[in-house]
């Protein structure tokens, strides 16, 4: 049984073939990274997994069950959480409130219990707070707990978005360029957290990343993409040394 698998995935926008016949498999508990030059189709793969776009070809499986025919919120409820390349937080809410949305798939009380705020609703709410506080502790967000997201520095928002995804207690975590826009120190923290997420929270990570130092440090395996097609797969060192990858990044030697 495979944990997560993508088979012959493809999509085109008009004449642009954004993803073309991409297949890969992510093993439970590993950090699997997709790299590739700008416009290679990495984010599009995430959007296909999240069912934000309808795939023109191919299938996606979580624990051998196909995702097809589902809708985006079902994907989240199955335990696939993601962050966005351009940060999609709830701007006018506090950090705490943002993380609490992450608990949505674990809600336990019915609408009537919520309207009356019965003891059951209170218990569910307290459990949600407790889970979120653990994430806040884990990511060291305590001092921003009650700040509005709209006023936070970029680096902190990235961490908040990671926290919101973690609050869902995902089985598979999709990170779209977790280090983009971060300074070296923040990138180092991010690498540390990704290692911790894998080791202590036992969450499988599928990541898109440009920073090759980060990739080499945290990834078990790497998939290289160019123009929507797979050009190499293997350990970070193998992929970095692969002639097709070097060519994709640097252009063909004359």
């Amino acid at each position: 049984m495979s944990f997560f698998r993508v088979e012959n995935l493809g999509i085109h926008f008009g004449g642009v073939v954004a993803v073309d016949d991409v297949s890969f498999e992510v093993k439970r508990g590993e950090v699997y990274t997709i790299i590739g030059p700008n416009g290679a189709g990495k984010t599009t793969i995430f959007n296909l997994i999240g069912l934000l776009y309808p795939a023109t070809a191919g299938r996606i499986f979580l624990e051998d069950k196909p995702l097809a025919g589902s809708v985006p919120h079902r994907v989240a409820q199955l335990g696939i959480a993601r962050t966005f390349q351009n940060i999609e937080l709830f701007e006018h809410a506090t950090v705490l409130q943002n993380l609490l949305i992450g608990r949505h798939r674990h809600r336990a009380a019915s609408l009537w219990q919520e309207l009356l705020f019965t003891p059951a609703a209170r218990r569910a709410e307290l459990a949600a707070r407790e889970a979120v506080e653990q994430v806040i502790d884990f990511l060291d967000l305590a001092k921003y707990r009650d700040s509005l997201v709209a006023g936070l520095p970029y680096g902190v928002r990235k961490v908040v978005e990671l926290g919101r995804a973690l609050a869902t207690e995902p089985r598979l975590l999709l990170l779209d360029e977790p280090s983009s826009g971060l300074n070296p120190e923040e990138t180092d923290d991010m690498a540390f957290w990704i290692e911790d997420i894998r080791r202590h929270l036992a969450v499988t990570v599928l990541m898109v990343e440009h920073d090759m130092n980060l990739v080499a440090r945290v990834s078990d395996r790497v998939l290289a993409l160019n123009l929507g097609m797979v050009i190499a797969e293997g350990t970070p060192a193998e992929v970095q040394a692969h002639p097709a990858v070097i060519e994709a990044y640097l252009g063909k030697a004359a």
């Binding site: 959007n47 999240g50 934000l52 809708v71 985006p72 919120h73 994907v75 989240a76 409820q77 959480a81 993601r82 966005f84 390349q85 351009n86 999609e88 937080l89 709830f90 701007e91 006018h92 809410a93 705490l96 409130q97 609490l100 949305i101 992450g102 608990r103 949505h104 798939r105 809600r107 009380a109 609408l111 919520e114 309207l115 009356l116 705020f117 609703a121 209170r122 569910a124 709410e125 307290l126 949600a128 707070r129 407790e130 506080e133 709209a150 006023g151 936070l152 520095p153 970029y154 919101r164 869902t168």
Partner: protein
């Protein structure tokens, strides 16, 4: 300035955050409970209207202010509530059954309107709800056998367990009670996952759905709850004015209802009540001012103009509404003399360069 030291999660969840709030709301409640004995008949009547419009405003606030869905058709839900109540009361159904029925029928209408909301956004949704308003108005006018058409329906005063609530005080307590219950229910909802899902949809639909929020379900739910509250308001309205006819539920009424939300402050429950109060008090102010104006200024025309100007003024100068104004005033006092201009300005520390879809 007040600093709260939190020692357990319950402190985040409870409705009253500190003793001061308990005191002020307690005082307000005490004043309201004794109002039937302290204020005159005229003020009492205005208070009835304020509470009725508060309930409607709360419903609309949930939809517009918290879920981010616009509606220019809420007068239709008001009508469904009012006519349901009027017809059931005429059949002798007791009010503790007819009132929930008014809410239920309205909610059902809300579900129907919620369906296009799944595909439409912004101005298109506004037009769809507006069309719904026109349809309901037409149906009421044409279905003379049931609704009496343009000649309207008379509505009896409320009777609760054989006691007639036609006295000002009885009806006042009913309206007050229902307003307080509506506020409490919405406060409960907003501190629960459902309320957070609404707010998430308002702020970013993509993020909400990627967090597992079922957009279709929660948007229709927001419409249904909003319509239910508006239906209750409509039922009380029918009793209050004791005669209902189609021209009370036109597009103009819908716009007045949306005015409550905008004047009060989009996104605050307080705003719904403040907005309702303002909507009722403004015409009084206008008629007072008319004594000092030239005789050829017409009264109905003047009211429409002032309403329009106030609405535009608020949208341009105080998008946070009356409640936002109050928050700023309070902050100014708390921080005196350190308040600086622009403290409430939204920060844009980065630009979104590219968005999905």
């Amino acid at each position: 300035m007040r600093f709260l030291f939190k020692t357990d999660y319950d402190q985040d969840i409870r409705l009253f955050k500190h003793g001061g709030q308990v005191f002020w709301y307690g005082l307000l409640m005490a004043l309201l409970l004794t109002a039937p004995f302290t204020v005159g008949e005229y003020v009492m009547s205005q208070l009835h209207f304020i509470f009725i419009y508060s309930i409607v405003g709360l419903g609309l606030m949930l939809l517009v202010g918290f879920t981010g869905q616009i509606s220019l058709g809420h007068a239709a839900f008001l009508a469904v509530g009012a006519y349901t109540e009027a017809l059931l009361q005429a059949k002798g159904v007791p009010v503790f059954i007819s009132l929930p029925c008014a809410a239920l029928f309205s909610a059902a209408a809300g579900l129907i309107v919620g369906l296009p909301a799944l595909r439409l956004k912004g101005i298109y949704l506004a037009i769809a709800t507006l069309a719904f308003n026109v349809i309901v108005e037409e149906v009421i006018t044409r279905w003379e056998g049931l609704t009496g058409g343009n000649s309207g329906l008379h509505v009896k005063p409320v009777e609760l367990f054989g006691v007639k609530l036609d006295g000002d005080a009885g009806f006042f307590y009913l309206c007050l009670g229902l307003t307080v219950l509506s506020i409490l229910a919405l406060m409960n909802l907003l501190r629960s996952p459902t309320g957070r899902a609404f707010v998430a949809i308002r702020d970013s639909e993509i993020s909400a759905s990627c967090m597992g929020v079922n957009l279709a379900k929660y948007k229709t739910l927001a419409f249904a709850i909003s319509a239910a509250l508006t239906g209750i308001g409509g039922a009380l309205y029918a009793h209050k004015v004791s005669f209902i006819s189609p021209e009370q539920f036109t597009l103009l009424q819908s716009i007045e209802l949306i005015t409550i939300v905008i004047l009060g402050g989009v996104g605050f429950l307080h705003g719904a009540v403040l907005g309702a109060a303002f909507l009722i008090v403004l015409p009084q102010l206008i008629s007072l001012a008319k004594d000092y104006l030239p005789a050829n200024v017409g009264s109905s025309g003047l009211q429409a103009v002032v309403f329009g100007l106030v609405l535009i003024g608020f949208i341009i100068f105080e998008p946070l509404g009356l409640y936002g104004r109050w928050l700023k005033l309070r902050t100014w006092f708390e921080l005196f003399p350190f308040y600086r201009k622009g403290m409430f300005r939204r920060q844009k520390s980065y630009m979104k360069s590219e968005r999905l879809r």
